[in-house]
């Protein structure tokens, strides 16, 4: 049985008739929506879905939004929804799926990811956090970094080294880590913007039951790649409206300040406007390809172009603002739940945009990915691939 858009609308209507969004408790409403299979429609029946086509999700979301129903505040649980959930669905056990997916979707439990380390960023497989088997538990020690939402998260997806004698890609294992464990210490990491959007996380003798392992021992790299694939789709798939994002801020500044305009700045602004609009159309094209089941590699193009443009646009904005560009809106040290680029001053945008070419895969790594996987050029020469991890220079 395949569920189509009309049937989904019918089911939402039926659900709303039984659960008046105005009078039902928010959590109760969300739990019921999950149980009715109307959470993420492409998930299996019993796990918040109906096994429908992924593209039909907007049908459900829009119908609930129109009815004024509460949502699960997806922006507060991006790692959970975008990475942990698909990973648990694909690689987890039945018990894990039953335990974690429902409170994840409702937002009762938020998630973070413990992947990157000070010594393993782009070269993620070089990570050195250790997981040592001890009876039915694993004991984990190490340090993670750039961990968004760690200060709020109930759970984390974690990759750790379970066998240092194997080559670096082969000795990794994937776990679910309890962030309330006493061995977990989260410290906010102040950034160039002045705020702490992410954290460093110290793991000291953290005991993780083997039942919280995802995938086989030593299969951590494959599971992590599955997770990161979802991250890349999440970044590439967002389609802002025209003048959405940074270019809109620059365009508004231009309109608001006729006295600051010069011919040279005008052409620069228009150059950036054209580039931003071209990238927006490219992401629309990517979405259309995904919708007909032919995922194009354009996601990487959008990511590379988007990072470069955001940096150029925010730099332009400061130059255009002149004396005002010397100022900063607020250096207060705080921990936002997610990065909002448009509600802050131009200086903040300039500094924050510097991260766009680093987070989610650096531009340099993405260029290698494009060159090797899309264009089929020879791979980088690797000297570390078949050597035991413990012998690699660090």
């Amino acid at each position: 049985m395949t569920v189509d858009a009309a049937e989904l609308r019918g089911r939402v209507e039926e659900f709303l008739a039984a659960h008046d969004p105005q009078r039902t408790d928010r959590l109760e409403f969300l739990r019921a929506r999950f149980d009715a299979g109307l959470a993420w429609v492409h998930f299996p029946v019993g796990l918040g879905g109906l096994g429908a086509a992924r593209e039909l999700q907007p049908v459900v979301d829009e119908a609930f939004a129109e009815a004024g129903a509460p949502d699960n505040q997806p922006q507060l649980n991006v790692i959970g929804l975008g990475m942990a959930a698909p990973t648990i669905l694909r690689f987890g056990t039945d018990e894990q799926r039953q335990r974690y997916l429902r409170p994840l979707w409702t937002g009762e439990e938020t998630w973070c990811q413990l992947f990157s380390e000070p010594g393993a960023g782009s070269d993620l497989a070089a990570l050195s956090t250790r997981a040592v088997r001890d009876g039915s538990d694993w004991v984990v020690d190490g340090q993670k970094v750039w961990t968004s939402l760690a200060h709020r998260a109930r759970w984390a997806i974690l990759v750790a080294r379970s066998d240092p004698d194997l080559p670096k890609h082969k000795g990794l294992t994937y776990f679910i880590c309890d962030m309330t464990d006493p061995g977990v210490e989260v410290r906010p990491l102040r950034q160039i913007t002045g705020e702490a959007e992410f954290n460093e996380v110290f793991l000291t003798g953290v005991r993780i039951p083997d039942s919280q392992r995802i995938g086989e021992v030593g299969q951590g790299w494959q599971v992590a790649m599955g997770t990161l694939m979802n991250e890349r789709v999440a970044i590439g798939g967002r389609t802002p409206p025209r003048e959405g994002g940074m270019i809109g801020e620059a365009a508004e500044a231009w309109r608001a300040h006729p006295e600051k305009r010069t011919p040279a700045l005008h052409d620069r602004l228009l150059t950036l406007w054209v580039a931003a609009e071209a990238t927006r159309l490219t992401s629309i094209r990517l979405r259309q390809q995904l919708a007909i089941g032919e995922p194009g590699p354009e996601g990487s193009a959008v990511k590379v172009a988007f990072a470069e443009q955001n940096q150029a646009i925010t730099g332009f904005e400061l130059e255009f603002l002149g004396e005002d560009g010397l100022t900063y809106d607020d250096w207060t040290f705080r921990q936002p739940d997610y990065a909002s680029l448009t509600k802050r001053g131009a200086g903040f945008r300039y500094l924050r945009a510097k991260g766009n070419s680093i987070e989610g895969g650096t531009t340099e790594i993405l260029r290698n990915v494009i060159a090797e996987r899309v264009l089929g050029l020879p791979p980088e020469i690797r000297t570390d691939k078949d050597r035991p991890w413990k012998e690699l220079p660090r």
Partner: protein, 367 residues
């Protein structure tokens, strides 16, 4: 406003395959190069096959005017293949004249252009931007035309020319037979050996008035917008060829004991070019779709030209640079692509011209 359709339909892909196959057989680069230095720089047999047998010249013509009633979307796919092969055919002149005649609902010459038996062009300078003021260099007195237009594309092979002129009622479009008396055509030596142009001199030549006033201005602008929008697809096709050919070369050329494509300096340049071509394809498809749907045509075309006319040069220059020494020689087609690319960057206005237009359309006013 609904989102533009930026993909290719199955029908469009079939059309592409047919055109590509024909061009591969009849128009490999050695043939193109040999022709460039001959007395017949255009391959009119090839054009008759494309236009007549395959019916490509009829795509833009509505069915009630004797055409195929397709749209710029299909023709854009043809343009990509023409660009990929730097085909020496009067494609651009045909697009210009056909779009102008369709806008005037002309019924006599259009069917002959649509079936490929006759060739036409539009007498505007090739660097004219779609939003430029109506040209005033030709005056009309009754049916008699006098004046000069330079850089008229495909002029030497044209049987008919649509001429923008100024008469007692203001702007007008006239149809001129190039065999008529008072018509002189002088070819110009072109930077782009594969696409020719020349100067049209009219000394009391007879013309038939097709449209006047606002109708003439609208028809001319429509013709220029159509051709500029389709040129973006031609530029994407050319850029894609340059990328493909350079990637192939980087896999087979060895230096320092390795394929040059294994060096990160080369890989990253090619990855960046691929990003540019991917975005270029999206804006070019957007322009073709806008022309087909007749929505936001001015903005979509300006955007496509602002982006693709620089993209095409970047691609042709990277093509040459990454081929190293061989790229500088006559023995490799890099120069044919560079000539077409640089010339097409200037065609219908350089990127800066289109950005200024976008400034007007997107409420980003000049200082």
């Amino acid at each position: 406003m609904s989102a533009p359709d930026l993909l290719y339909t199955e029908l469009e892909e079939d059309l592409r395959a047919t055109v590509r196959r024909l061009l591969r057989e009849r128009c490999d680069w050695t043939a193109v190069l040999a022709r460039c230095e001959s007395e017949e720089p255009y391959d009119l047999d090839l054009w008759r096959t494309l236009a007549g047998e395959l019916g490509l010249a009829a795509l833009l013509v509505p069915e009630d005017l004797g055409g195929a009633g397709a749209s710029a979307r299909e023709l854009a796919v043809v343009a990509e293949e023409v660009g990929r092969a730097v085909a020496p055919v009067p494609f651009l002149g045909n697009v210009l004249v056909t779009a102008a005649l369709v806008a005037c609902a002309e019924r006599e010459v259009l069917p002959q252009l649509a079936d490929g038996s006759r060739i036409g062009t539009l007498a505007v300078g090739l660097t004219t931007a779609p939003h430029a003021a109506f040209p005033r260099s030709v005056k009309a007195d009754g049916t008699s035309l006098t004046g000069t237009v330079s850089a008229v594309v495909d002029l030497e092979v044209a049987d008919h020319v649509v001429v923008p002129a100024v008469d007692g009622d203001g702007a007008a479009l006239y149809l001129v037979d190039t065999a008529a008396s008072g018509v002189t055509r002088t070819p110009t030596t072109p930077l782009d050996l594969t696409r020719r142009f020349g100067t049209l001199e009219l000394a009391g030549a007879v013309g038939k008035r097709l449209a006047s006033g606002a109708d003439a201005e609208r028809a001319l602008r429509r013709a220029l917008l159509t051709a500029a929008g389709l040129l973006a697809s031609e530029q994407v096709g050319l850029a894609q060829h340059c990328l493909d050919s350079t990637v192939d070369y980087a896999k087979t050329r060895y230096q320092f004991g390795r394929q040059i494509g294994s060096f990160q300096a080369v890989k990253h340049r090619l990855a960046d070019l691929w990003v540019e071509v991917s975005t270029g394809r999206a804006v070019a498809r957007n322009a073709a779709d806008a022309l087909a749907q007749d929505t936001e045509v001015d903005l979509a075309v300006a955007l496509a030209q602002a982006h693709c006319s620089d993209l095409v040069v970047l691609a042709a220059e990277e093509h040459l640079q990454l081929h190293g020494g061989i790229g500088m020689t006559w023995e490799h087609p890099a120069h044919l692509y560079l000539g077409r690319a640089k010339s097409s960057q200037l065609t219908f206005g350089i990127a800066e011209t289109h950005r200024q237009r976008i400034g007007e359309l997107a409420d980003l006013p000049t200082p």
